[in-house]
Amino acid sequence: MAYADDAEHEELHEPTSFISKYVWSQDHKVIAIQYSLIAIFVGLVALVLSAMMRMQIGFPESIDMDSTEYYQAMTMHGMIMVIYLLTALFLGGFGNYLIPLMVGARDMVFPFVNMLSVWFYLLSVLVLLASFFVPGGPTGAGWTLYPPQAITQGTPGAEWGIILMLVSLIIFIVAATMGGLNYVTTVLQARTHGMTMFRMPLTVWGIFVATILALLAFPALFVSGIMMLLDTTIGTSFFMPDMFSPNQGTALDYTGGSPILFQHLFWFFGHPEVYIVALPAFGLVSDLISVHARRSIFGYRMMVWAIVVIGVLSFVVWAHHMYVSGMNPYFGFFFAVTTLVIAVPTALKVYNWLLTLWRGNIHLTVPMLFSLAFIVTFLVGGLTGLFLGNVVVDIPLSDTYFVVAHFHMVMGVAPVLVVFGSIYHWYPKITGRMLHDGIGKLHFWITFLGTYLIYFPMHYLGFLGMPRRYYAWEGYQVINPESAQSLNAFITVMAIIVGISQLLFLFNMVYSYFKGKPSGGNPWKATSLEWLTPETPPKHGNWGPSLPVVHRWAYDYGVPGAALDYTPQTTSGEEVPIHESDHNE
């Protein structure tokens, strides 16, 4: 049963009008582009917010920003980047575009639900953006939204902003669930002839496992969101403890709620969320490295199992975000062990990427440059994770700039580098034109070196003890304000440069759409199915009259005895021998 046919042909009527083709479209490729454009748009909003924050930190005299606005910018930046940009882009964008093409399906299995998913996503973004315009502005509770502070006076947006934030998250979760059901079901049920699970590209594996994590972890955010919404609107006490209100001079009506319960729920979602972003990035970067190093991915089966093991373990490490939260301190022993264990499969992935380079024939194309930069950045972020995962080392560092530097390296910059690499790689398939190489290289160097110069020194502010989420540091002798201030100013300058350089990327995307070099169907000489469509960009239904038949895995580069250095998945064993016993069962 593991191959696709034209089950959905009734829904696959070629759309004719502009509206049905680009607006109410059920085509996975159009939906992917809709998802991506919305995500990139909110991502730019979040980028501007981060520039404002950096100005306040680096050059407080130069920007008119009070602490309310600072905390609002901080909160919205974090929330947008993690949820509305990265999650949506990897699953809704890349997942939608690549899964059906890579497994040889004509579309997602539930195209209508898929369309609903993107519209719910848009709605969630609109609700989120609406919070900028309500009285009191958006919530400034920090992206973790910890109660009781998130819904009490003294936090920006405690009246309306937080309510819109929670409603937006709930809508987003519905959207992500509808999309997620599509991705997993398509992978399991709509693969073409010969496409076994262990012949799938690692991109599909990464997105597949990440989607399962999303389906099981997002409910935790949903649960905590609903309960907080009730606490703030009708006055229940799920999370709200007995507490005193200085402005009313009395205790509030809440009793007995548990703020730590919220933290457990939040991080039960929040940690898998890291891997919901990271696993697709792992998958995509594996494919980029293999294609551009012209070498079969090293240790494919281990790579798949590493993805699965990381996915499973990610559900038992959440409390490493809570070592100093006041939870039972004995939990620290357990979570330190599980957290450091997860480093083993992760390290294996890094080794295998490097061993794929070994004895390859490396083309330093723009996608490859971004992939190699990802390895460096992810390596730094991963290694600093070993500081924060090891409970006692975390105690001095938690809630300092070390944490900020760590998570920006590991789940900010690293996945974004993969996003860029992947867009440079697949843009020719999506548009039929190459992105401009020179602009791409300039964009790459500024982004890679710039972000390294931002976040590597930032760890040392953490060693110094500089706490995160501070609007200003005047008068704290301990963090040596003068020298720290000069480093902060330097970081701000780099951040502004990197931020502005993203205009190069946007320009390249638009310019190349009209003026780019025509790419042909398979410009990188890659083996996986998406490069083998009869038309580029692929038409509705992807494959023309008949579906492709798969004979081999997606990584046959440099097969001995083959005429070309790459052997597409559809090439039969009679033409080029199949070596699957070497790497598969």
Binding site: Y300, Y330, V392, V393, L464, N480
Partner: protein
Amino acid sequence: MAFAVILVAIVIISVLFHFLSPWQATPLASNWGSIDTTITITLVITGIFFVAIVLFMAYCVYKYQVIPGRRSEYKPENKKLEWWLISITTLAICGLLAPGLVVYNDFVHVPPNAVEFEAVGEQWRWSYRLPGDDKKFGRTSVRLMDDRNSFGIDPDDKAGQDDILVAGNQMHLLVNQPTKVLLRSKDVLHDFYVPEFRAKMDLVPGQVTYFWFTPTVPGTFDILCAEYCGIGHYNMRGQVVVDKAQDYEEWLSQQITFADVLTGGTVEGLVEQGQRLAASRGCLACHSIDGGPSLGPGWLNLSGSEESLIDGSKVLVDADYLIESIVDPAVKLVAGYPPVMVAYEFSDEQLDSLVAYIDSLSSDDLSQPSTQPTED
């Protein structure tokens, strides 16, 4: 080639930066040198992996750069190599974890000779309590908190009578004395963090958390709130003063107990009442009284001066204006300060006392123009 060179440069610069950077941990002032040791171990092990991996990558990029017509090796798997790598990584992980867990075991076990004190956090200031002679803290509840009993101690609990209350932001500790900090929050999450002590822990409303340390160096240290607690988070200042025995005893002898608070203070002037209110209701968290920077307008020489509002107009600071700004702060917003203050509820008598207190902070020549002193 260029890329390989840059990778090598990244390694060299990163390592040099580590050794030459002026931004290193603050000098240790507690027993937690062992935590610093675990950080060093982690730095060494992760540093070796960082250098080795990036250099290997640079070598690959240099050695296997594209040569037209060359075929890469077709060797998709090497089980033995992979197991070797897994084993080495696992060993390194154990090298990180084992010392970490040993030190953490010390961290969670409070030594029996530790003395206790309580740090109470609220938006956005600190206060402290010592258990007194009976070494027992009195019961507390937020429902008992008012401007006379800002700690919320149960007056009926005998253990609470001799509790020593420290209302300022500054706490004194005895050097070389193992100390257990009990942490209690009146409103939202906070975190008690003194960088020189290395250890930190959140304050969680509704429960009491703790950690322990031994201060080893006399001196004054800043307490930083390390858990986001609202718009004044960055300004939640406190200090720990580590004293030698004699200084500590002297300080201790000057402190008042809960019983003193309950019995004394019934007869107090308007200004004193206002001062007490300003402290207990958190006004001073945002309004400085010494002319220093603060979230809201400072109170030193405020009364009688002219304030510029955000609409460009000016207003004379008199009693009516002050009262209006307390009970309905959104009406007249002073330029240069964020509109963050929420409306406060006070009785008329309390308002008068606050105004009297603010007036008392102005020097005479300035307060003269305020022609109409409060008469309601």
